[in-house]
Amino acid sequence: MELKGRVHKFGDDINTDEIIPARYLNTSDPMELAKHAMEDADPEFRQRMQPGDFIVAGKNFGCGSSREHAPIAIKAAGVAAVIADSFARIFYRNAFNMGLPILESPEAAADLKDGDEISVNLDTGAITVMATGRTFHSQPIPPFMQELLADGGLMAHLKKKLETHRT
């Protein structure tokens, strides 16, 4: 699957309080959460971004709390994928469980600039700058996680397993 959009660049250690501040956690409605995606990291992000755009960040993206509201807010805002040098572990799990594509690529995280138009191939993990054709490769997704994604997230994966047991 090929995704195309613009890069929005963030720094290292972007935490879940910046992604979705706790003051908005009295609801779990994705559209409500989406209104405040990345608000405390960049209050103008929601105005600047277009659906299909990418978040590109440094190391340890999504550190802090376990709130699944973080990947939900990003996904519901229309962000196509998050590319980072590395991800915090709970965010990593949550993103897969929610079906938000995330790619680990230290080179892309270092080189991509705010506003770059890129295309991302989720099957191969290739990230290409459209103006120059320069391509970065992201870490392949572990087979176990590919299975989760193929089934449409953790709950769908579990449902399928339950059904297989019954038949």
Partner: protein, 422 residues
């Protein structure tokens, strides 16, 4: 003869029916306790229902605590707590806590003996790693993982590598477990233990009481760790003796177990530590912090709201008053801690010092309620995170410290230690 393993490997192996698991291996493990709160459980309950599941895997082992935005701070929060209550009733859950039974989850579960040594615990809350102080494997997950575990009693894990932290020497006065963990996070950074297990060992750990050990394991996630863990000793066993609701098992690391790396600290010359905003890794000794005026001091949370923490704060506050213009907020973490503090006269000391004593709640720690900061305001807090906007307005500031420093700072009106008070 199986290969050498860390305590973390042994617990994970025991929960997936193996004798040995290798770091990096993906396993599907049996979960002893699955925990959710009023922020994370509503999403898990929604997923549970959408999956078509009818019953939780074990009504004794799914634990719900309405502690974050409770006592209900607004109508949406009240609705979230209502969701938990209705689900708990429908599923006849043994362990649902709200109102006067409710305490901050990570203080409450050990206190009630719901978690014990050798357990595998997941919680839809990042500070679930607190229970590692009991010699359990405990880690935070999201709501979907919680929903899946509520249904199946299982969760998948990648077996983590471990880092061994050795603390030698004896802590000087006013230096606590909080200072050891802040110092460690300052040393390795907020991603220094990413995906890994932090194993805390050494004579200084042996000397710490359980409250200090819980504080340390609690903040393992602030270094990016999957779990923090300590081998049980006689103090651990004394703590769980009359509490444990289930049989428990003591695991220890093999002497020749493999570690990603080792860090050795001499705590003898350590000062109380302070983490400056906006990251728990911006740590420096108290004497280097300089002049920082404060508007609020918060003593409480899953990190430092236990009886021992309140005793420490009371030692500093006895016969003293919070400085004019400083709001001192004390939050006993559970109803039992509150009662004991009352019986010991600690609450009177706090009230005489001009404190607001709050009912148990996570409250201001995550900027929920009970002490939110205005733009430009500064707080010193015994909590665990000082990210941008963590306790209120994005232009407010949180300094993390131990309860003695928070209490002394309230009296001084600026960040200070007990020894700096007249």
């Amino acid at each position: 003869m199986s290969k050498a393993q860390t305590i973390t490997q042994k617990i994970l192996a025991a929960h997936c029916g193996k004798d040995y698991v290798e770091p990096g291996e993906l396993i599907l493990a049996r979960v002893d306790i699955a925990l959710g709160n009023d922020i994370t459980a509503p999403l898990a309950i929604k997923e549970f229902r959408e999956s078509g599941a009818k019953q939780v895997f074990d009504k004794e082992r799914v634990v719900l605590v309405a502690d974050h935005f409770a006592p209900n701070k607004d109508i949406p929060s009240a609705i979230q707590c209502q969701l938990l209550r209705e689900f708990a009733r429908e599923q006849d859950l043994t362990h649902f806590y709200e109102g006067g039974d409710m305490g901050v989850e990570h203080a409450l579960l050990p206190e009630k003996g719901i978690v014990g040594p050798g357990d595998l615990i997941i919680g839809a809350d990042s500070h679930t790693c607190t229970y590692g102080a009991l010699g359990a494997f405990a880690t935070g997950v999201g709501s979907t993982d919680l929903a899946a575990a509520m249904i199946s009693g299982e969760c998948w894990f990648k077996v983590p590598e471990s880092i061994r932290f050795v603390y030698n020497g004896q802590c000087p006065p006013w230096v606590t477990g909080k200072d050891l963990i802040l110092h460690t996070i300052g040393d390795i950074g907020v991603d220094g233990a990413r995906y890994m297990a932090m194993e805390f060992t050494g004579e200084a750990i042996g000397r710490l009481d359980m409250a200090d050990r819980f504080s340390m394991a609690n903040m393992a996630v602030e270094a990016g760790a999957k779990n923090g863990i300590m081998a049980p000793d006689e103090k651990t066993l004394a703590y769980v003796k009359n509490r444990a609701l289930r049989p428990y098992q003591v695991y220890t690391s093999d002497p020749d177990a493999a570690y990603a790396f080792e860090k050795v600290y001499d705590v003898s010359r350590l000062e109380p530590q302070v983490a400056l905003p906006p990251s728990p890794e911006n740590v420096m000794p108290l004497s280097h912090v300089g002049e920082v005026r404060i508007d609020q001091a918060v003593i409480g949370s899953c990190t430092n709201g236990r009886l021992e923490d309140l005793r420490l704060a009371a030692r500093v506050l006895k016969g003293r008053k919070a400085a004019k213009g400083v709001r001192l907020i004390v939050i006993p973490a559970t109803p039992l801690i509150y009662t004991q503090a009352l019986e010991e006269g600690l609450i009177k000391i706090f009230m005489d010092a001009g404190a607001v004593v709050s009912p148990p709640t996570c409250g201001p720690c995550l900027g929920g309620h009970m002490g939110i900061l205005a733009p430009g305001e500064v707080a010193v807090a015994t909590t665990n995170r000082n990210f941008v906007g963590r306790m209120g307005h994005p232009q407010s500031f949180v300094y993390l410290a131990n309860p003695a420093v928070a209490a002394a700072s309230a009296v001084a009106g600026r960040i200070a230690g007990p020894e700096q008070l007249a």
